[in-house]
Symmetry: C2
Subunit: 172 residues, 2 copies
């Protein structure tokens, strides 16, 4: 059966520590609510489900939890390619530098318009797309949507467009 999910934001705020360390027996003592499923925790779980590849096309990326998730995938051996907007890669709080430093392949769009996409394709199989930039204000402040689907009719055009944009934009 096809997977078709829609998640809306702003997300409730809850601790996501458990999502990163599911096998830990340590109980988190931070002040945030625990054991709560939120739009954001569902998004994070989907991202962390990648086992072989992640192609990420994102206008603005400053969210620390999503950065931690991408770095965790990278350490696990998932092949990651990140295409981002050249102007927004350099703004305060951008995590693009941290991804590069960790050895992840990053390219910046060279066109005159914005690289305004907010999608990722995981394992050539799962598409996550919508209005949501990977920032804290988008997750916790804005009215936003994220579609998660594994339908080939939707996944394949995004994969193809990613490859086209990746070739079009030289490594910076």
């Amino acid at each position: 059966k096809a997977l078709n999910e829609v998640h809306f934001f702003p997300s409730e705020v809850a601790c996501v520590e458990r999502i990163f360390t599911p096998s830990s027996t340590h109980l988190c003592s931070c002040p945030l609510p625990h054991g709560v499923d939120t739009s954001f925790s569902r998004l994070l779980r989907h991202v962390l489900s990648a086992s072989s590849s992640m192609d990420l096309c994102i206008f603005s990326f400053s969210n620390m939890d999503l950065c931690r998730a991408v770095l965790a995938l990278h350490r696990r051996g998932v092949t990651i390619r990140v295409l981002t907007d050249k102007d927004y890669a350099a703004i305060t709080g951008s995590q693009i530098g941290a991804l590069r430093k960790a050895g992840i392949c990053v390219r910046c769009s060279v066109g005159s318009g914005y690289m305004h996409h907010k999608f990722t394709v995981l394992d050539g199989r799962l598409l996550i797309t919508g209005s949501l930039n990977w920032t804290l204000s988008a997750v916790q402040g804005n009215a936003e949507n994220v579609v998660v689907t594994d339908q080939p009719e939707l996944v394949q055009p995004f994969m193809k467009e990613f490859h086209r944009l990746w070739e079009l934009n030289e490594p910076a």
Copy 2:
């Protein structure tokens, strides 16, 4: 069979006059290419396909052709509701004022975060969503995506969220 389309931008630039006046025998003499199908012409055609209702949730709306399409639907008797961001409704070039003037129901989000959605549900049946704001720079300049689908699993959550946001945000 389910409809699932993805359109990428920037769109080629072509004349859209024919889309608005399909039965006209007059040949347009403007300097743009004619008889060309583009991402934007496909988007316009989908928008113009509405026959009973249009619920539009859009962060930024300054595109004149899309405004013309919404006004055409309104004149045809399609029930239109527009929810937009309060800050962006007032910027230069915004078409929100023109919609209001024509008698279309417009509400502005009152939350502290942005109303950052870019989706519309037509006739409670067709969902158009993605990264694309309804502006000229998004259509002709940016790398953007638009998903068009009639799958209930995707359409229904967006309808529900529209109703929730509509009730939440008082008429301005």
